[in-house]
Structure formats: C-alpha cells, structure tokens
Amino acid sequence: MSLFLQQIINGLTLGSIYGLVALGLTLVYGILHIPNFAHGALYMVGAFMSYFFMVDLGAHYWIAMAGSAAVVAVLAILCERLVFHPLRHSPPIHDKIAAIGILLFLEAVVQMFWGSDFRRMSSPFTGIMNFDGLIIPEQRLLIIAGAFVLVVALQLFLRKTMTGATIIAMAQSREGAFLVGIDANRVAMMTFAISGMLAAFAATLYAPINLVYPAMGHLVIMKAFVIIILGGMGSVPGAIAGGMIIGFAEALGGFYISTSYKDIIAFGLLVLILSVRPQGLFAKGAH
C-alpha cells in the first residue's frame, strides 16, 4: 500500500512538471497556432540558467529560479519577435522548421558553455518527510506545491486581469480579437514570456531530483506535445489534466510494468489515441 502511495506521489510530481511545460506549450499554440518545438530547449535553458546562478554566482535557489525565469522569458520574447512574428503568414511547415532551428541553436550554445556532461543541481530542500511510513522528499513536495501555486496564479491572471482576458479572447478567436482592438503583438509577446517562465520554473523545480544536461528537453517536450494533444491543443485545463494522466501513467507503468519502457508509455498512448481519434481526445473540432 505504501509502495502504491509512493507511486502516487511520484505520479503527482511528474504530472506537475509535465503540466507546467505543457501549459506553456498549449498557451502558445492556442494563440499563435505554432507547435513550438523549441519549447523543450527553453526548458533546458531554464535549468542551466538556474544552475549558473546557483553554482557559478552563488545565488540562493529562489533567486536563481526568478533570474532563470526572467532570462527565459526574454529569450522566449526574442523568439517570438525575431522568428515567429516574421513567419506568421508563411506556410505552416516553415514555423515548425524555424522552431527546430531555435532548438538546435540553443542546445549548441549551452553545450558550448557547459559541455554535454550530466550535472547535478542542489536545492535547499534536501530533507525527507516521513508520514507514517510514507517517505516523501521535500523537493517533491515543493514541486507539487509549486506547480499548484503557479497554476492558480496563472488562472487568476487569465481570469481576473485585463491582459489575461485579452489572451483568452485571442485564443478563442483571432479575428474577433482584432475586431475589438486587441494589440495582437503585445498579446503574442506576453504569451511567449509566460510560456518561457513556466518552462523555467518547471526546470528549476525538477532539476534537483533529476540531472541537468543539454538534451534534457527532448523527452519533456515530446511528452508535453502528447499531453496537449490528449488535452486538446490550446486548452489550459486540458494541459493540466493531460499532464497528470501522463505523470501517473508513467509512475505506475514504470513501477508495475517495466522501468526501461516507461518513456514509451506516453508515445504509445498518443499513437493509440490518434489512431482512433485523429483530432485528439478532447479537441473541439478542426481549426
């Protein structure tokens, strides 16, 4: 039983991270209809930035996280301005290739500075909590709590602020948004910034119980894509629910079926779903 609960905690942890990454991806997709293949690279840069602030500059974990979020937000805005904005009228294949270009570039730059070694990043939360035999490392609790706080904050921002409302409006109807005079450029930049920040937060939260290396974004981004297809491209609740589904599937599947194939679960699920429902599980219909 306690082993099972342990897997539930693991699933929650994984689901939280996947959910945060998928949230950024789905926001960008909802608003600009770009599948941002470079999102995983932003996640990776987020981890390295935190590592840099902590290890090289000696900053505190929280400071490092904030700094990393700021850097990645700026980076994401640059991507939007310099790459995706000029491509907004191009054939759909072009923005995907450009996103791959960004991904390759960011990975190569990080590799140039830090090499391709696996690095460990510490965090002040190294303790382990014992709830009547159920052992939970503090960092995992932090991940779950942090993701929860971020999701609530994002919801408040989207629902309660003017800027958030414009983002929602534009996600629902781009033409409509133009008609009511929404500054599409500002919304696009804002969305990329939020998406980058979420990626950086997720990376910084997850890095202490994982490793930091240039290719660390690959698996995460692919799973995030699976998640947003599961949850409906552009849907915020869908991204969170999808993140949890994949997180739990991996934790339980990895434990009860096979550890070496646990990464395949998400993709197998995707293949299965898309084979049956080409539009995704909760998709509202074709765009």
């Binding site: 599948p35 491509l87 270009g101 730059v109 699976v226 074709a286």
Partner: protein, 343 residues
C-alpha cells in the same frame, strides 16, 4: 554568385557534376576524402526521400531518421545475427522500411499539419527507444557488429572504399533520376497539389490518403535504402543512428539545398557535409551556425539555394515580357490587397 549557380542548374552542368563524381576518387587527396564523399552521398539519398514527403507533399516527417535507422538495423541484424548475405538483406531492408512506412503512414497521414509533425516526432522517438531498449533483438546500447559488406559477385571488393563509393554513387544517380522523373510526372504534380492544400487537392479529384501514403512509403524506402547502404559501409551501428538529431540534420541539408527541388538535396547535403568536415571545430558546435541558418532560410529563402536560383533564372528568362505594365499591375494588386485587409 548567382551566375556561378545558374550554371550549376543547366543539364550540361548535371553531366559535369556526374563526371566529377565519377572522377572524384582519382583526384581525391586520400581515401578518407572518398569515404567522406560516400557518406555524404548516403545521406543525400535519405534527404531525397525526405524531399518527396516534405518537399513535394508538404508533410513534415520527423520520423525520417528513424526509418533510416530501421533500414540500417534490418540489414545489420539480418546479416550479423541471422546469417543472411548482403543483397538479400538489402532487399529485406527496403521491404521492411516500405512496409513499416505503409503502416505508420496509414495512421499518421490522417492527421493534419501540426498533428502529423508531432506524431512523427513521437514515432521517431519510439523507434529510437525500441532500438535502445529491445536488447534481445537489437543488442541495445552495444549495437550491431560484424555487418556484412556487399559482395561483388567476384568482380569487385566492396570492402574497399573506392568500389563502395561507386556503388553508393550508382544508387544516388538512380535516386536523383527517379526524383527528376517523378517531379515532372502527373504523380509528382499530384503530390505538389497536396502540398498546396488538402481541400484544393480534393476538389481536383485527388485521393489524399492514397497519394500521401504512396509518397510516404517512397520516402521511407529511400531512407531505408540509405540506411542499408550506411550499415554496409560502416559495418557497425548503434542506437544513435536513430537519434532525432539525424532527422534535424537532414532537414537542414534539405532546406539549405532547396526543398522541393531536384538538385537541392544533393547540393545541400554534400555542401554542408564538406563544410563541417573542413572546419573541424564546427563538428560539435555546427548547430550554432546551422540553427540560425535554418531560421534565416525559412524567413528569407524558403526554397534554399536551388529554389532561389531557379526562380531568379526563370524571371531572367521572362524579363523580355512587358515588365513595366506588369509592375504597375502589381502595385495595383498590392493596394487592392491592402484595401481588402482593411475592410
């Protein structure tokens, strides 16, 4: 610059290039250069495959490197573990990639644009994971050793670099010849119509699924052919052959050379392979240059070297037409368009 390149596009230039390729082993400084060129040719064959599905048909297939690896592994495993000799295993690799391409195609090609790209990205990764984890079949991370080299029926010894180079060249020439014929044929035009838009193509009576699957199977078979040749050349392969980065490399070659063109895949692949080779420091960090290059290409020269030259040449040959009136018209339409978008 344009002039030099426009010379490259004439039919005579193609024969010159072929002559150069045939003479290359004689003028190469050492065997290593011949080997590098043969590698470039192998990749070029795979890039031609990507050109069919992505360049002509407009579907960004991110599993292409995976099919390359399947071709390589099929040949490798059949010869190393199951005692097949090279040529039957070679055929086996083609059949395997075609059949798997068909199966993946009928599922994935029902998906539109982004979904297709994401789906194939995942398929590519599943292929990598299977190769890496299914140790009973693939030997996992250890890789496959002692892969057979092609036998030359007692006439040539393909374990030597130069004969192998000619073998690859022969396949490459066939690949390009077929691509050229395809592009001008009604079938190739059908693929291009699909790239222009699913709905338009259907309204022209084109069966989307049948044609997309055909294009996909052709492309995976090209990838399988290249993979099998690669395995026969290096004779030792590992899970890294299925790394997604190979797909990204091929996209770069295709974009630089010219997506949807006939000579683009060759020029892009050979050009970049040699640039990377000659600037050794680039080997590891080449993506610092090629990443931004990809972005710049899709923004400013979406049809790459070859495509841009072809357009330029065509305009030049049409320059005798009454340009002035045409330009006036263009200004007028631009204004119309603006008026429309303001309305």
């Amino acid at each position: 610059m344009f002039k030099v390149a426009s010379l490259l596009m004439t039919p005579a230039a193609k024969y010159l290039m072929l002559a150069f390729a045939i003479l290359f082993p004689l003028v190469a400084a050492n065997e290593y250069q011949v080997y590098v060129m043969a590698t470039a040719f192998v990749w070029a064959i795979a890039v031609y495959g990507l050109n069919i599905i992505t360049g002509f048909c407009g579907q960004l297939n991110l599993a292409h490197g995976g099919f390359f690896a399947i071709g390589a592994y099929t040949l490798g495993l059949l010869t190393a573990d199951y005692g097949w000799s090279f040529w039957p295993a070679f055929l086996g690799a083609l059949v395997m990639t075609a059949v798997l391409g068909f199966l993946v195609g009928i599922v994935s090609l029902r998906l539109k644009e982004h979904y297709f790209a994401i789906f194939t990205l995942c398929v590519g990764f599943i292929i990598y994971l299977l190769i890496d984890k299914w140790e009973e079949l693939t030997h996992g991370a250890i890789g496959v050793r002692d892969i057979a080299a092609p036998y030359g029926f007692g006439l040539v010894d393909f374990t030597d670099t130069t004969p192998f180079y000619y073998l690859v060249l022969a396949f490459l020439v066939f690949a390009i010849w077929f691509m050229g014929r395809l592009s001008k044929s009604l079938l190739g035009r059908t693929f291009i119509a699909i790239r222009n838009g699913d709905e338009l193509a259907q309204s022209l009576g084109i069966n989307l699924m049948r044609n997309k699957v055909l294009a996909f199977v052709l492309s995976t078979t090209y990838a399988g052919l290249a993979g099998a040749l690669y395995a026969g050349m290096v004779r030792f392969i590992g899970p890294e052959e299925a790394n997604i980065n190979h797909t990204f490399d091929m996209i770069t070659y295709l974009l630089v050379g010219g997506i949807g063109t006939i000579m683009g895949p060759l020029l892009g692949t050979v050009g970049i392979v040699w640039i990377t080779q000659s600037l050794q420091f680039l080997e590891e960090y080449r993506m610092i240059i090629f990443g931004p290059l990809l972005v710049l290409l899709v923004i400013f020269f979406p049809r790459g070297i070859t495509g841009s030259f072809l357009t330029w040449m065509h305009r030049k040959s049409q320059a005798l037409a009454p340009t002035k009136k045409r330009q006036e018209n263009k200004v007028k339409t631009a204004q119309n368009r603006e008026a429309e978008s303001n309305a």
